[in-house]
């Protein structure tokens, strides 16, 4: 198994959000500041890796007919653990992510990777796959939160840097509140998608020209 290609797939060529178009709900709903983005990204990364490991270990035991139900139970178990841990140690994160932590259970990324990868591959490859896809997802969340936080409230790193206050780049009064509202989520993600589509096409054209 090649770690480098898997990492590249997770971040760019097979990025869960930008290329496979899954896991959209949380991507748009919680990316209002950097703290939420990183918190959600890392929770998904941990759950994805753990469930990938367990599912690839059990892939010969789970019968094909009931595999979806089995996946869901395994994932739900890990989600409950992470949910309880966040409630205990990061109550702020728990209150700002709210219902979206238990909803990681139905995040298509995790079920999708179980179905497409870890049910068919060995433990080591599945672990690496979980980590890489998780990193790809986290990067998208971080990009979204940085853009929305900057345009919406003029700050950077809210909840993470500078004792939780973040750095104020321009006064919050001048921020476009619209970007933090649902409308801004759709538009920001659309622009991000367009950017990736443009970059991929450009890279492809360059390759063609080189040939």
């Amino acid at each position: 198994m090649n770690f480098k290609t898997q990492l590249k797939e997770g971040i760019i060529t097979q990025n869960p959000v930008l290329i496979q178009n899954i896991g959209l709900c949380s991507t748009m709903a919680i990316t209002t500041d950097l703290f939420n983005g990183i918190g959600m990204g890392i929770s998904v990364l941990i759950i994805l890796t753990c469930s990938n490991i367990v599912i690839s270990l059990l892939r010969k035991v789970i019968p094909n007919e009931i595999r979806i139900a089995a996946f869901v139970v395994i994932i739900a178990g890990f989600v409950t653990m992470v949910d309880l841990l966040i409630q205990a140690f990061l109550p702020d994160l728990s209150s700002s992510l709210g219902v979206f932590i238990p909803l990681i259970v139905v995040n298509c990324i995790i079920l999708g990777r179980a179905e497409a990868f870890s049910y068919k591959n060995g433990v080591l490859a599945s672990t690496v796959d979980g980590i890489c896809q998780g990193i790809g997802y986290t990067l998208v969340l971080v990009a979204m939160s940085v853009i929305r936080e900057f345009l919406g409230s003029g700050s950077f790193g809210g909840g993470v840097f500078n004792g939780g206050a973040g750095f104020q780049i321009f006064p919050a009064d001048y921020g476009a509140v619209l970007v933090i509202l649902p409308f801004g989520g759709f538009i920001t993600l659309a622009c991000l998608f367009a950017l990736v589509q443009w970059a991929l096409k450009r890279a492809e054209n360059k390759k063609k020209e080189a040939k």
Partner: protein
């Protein structure tokens, strides 16, 4: 139990707190199934039904969990209930409503992973709704989902057929962009919160 609270819950679930446009729940099927009008309608009906039934059943399950002091098992229990419910509906439809079953195809089992369904069950518990309120919230939430997906499908049919747009935005990004514009329009409903 008064009618005002039911009315305000319904109004909230359909317009003000629309599951798609203001709570971001159920976006994957919303983006995936909205390319054609008839599948969008079928999906809307199926989701409304599942959300209504799931709210009712999960209310009972929650009572049991609280009684046995197992509230931390909520997520696991709910998702199991929803998964078996969807499986059951699938078998039922296969026997009795063949045409709708075939029209929905792969999307029927996928309702299990629709976050709107699990979301409505969790929100019912979080908001402390009683049985009737839960069912009303589930059904009207589903109707809100249906409204959103039907509106969006009609926009998208034209978008794919006729609209010109920059190369980089073709396909998925421009669809998201138009969903964003509908969300902007839905923000206009936020003033309707008259009963709270």
């Amino acid at each position: 139990m008064d009618l005002t609270s039911i009315f305000s819950i319904s109004l909230g679930a359909i317009l003000v707190q629309n599951f798609i446009f203001s709570q971001f729940l159920g976006l994957c099927p919303f983006m995936g199934v909205s390319t054609k009008m008839d599948t969008a309608v079928g999906m809307g009906i199926a989701v409304t039904f599942v959300m209504g039934v799931a709210s009712a059943v999960c209310y009972g399950v929650d009572l049991l969990l609280v009684h046995f002091d197992l509230a931390y098992m909520q997520t696991v229990a709910y998702i199991l209930v929803i998964a078996s419910l969807v499986q059951f509906i699938e078998m039922f439809m296969k026997k009795t409503m063949r045409s709708l079953y075939e029209a929905l195809g792969i999307y029927l089992p996928l309702i299990t992973t629709n976050c709107a369904v699990l979301g409505v069950a969790l929100l019912n518990t979080q908001n402390g709704y009683n049985f009737i309120e839960s069912v009303v919230y589930g059904v009207t939430g589903g109707l809100g989902f249906m409204l959103a997906i039907v509106l969006f499908a009609s926009v998208r049919e034209r978008l794919d057929a006729t609209a010109e747009c920059p190369k980089a935005f073709e396909g998925f990004p421009i669809a998201l962009m138009s969903a964003g514009l509908i969300a902007l329009a839905f923000m206009g409903f936020s003033g309707l919160d008259v009963f709270k």
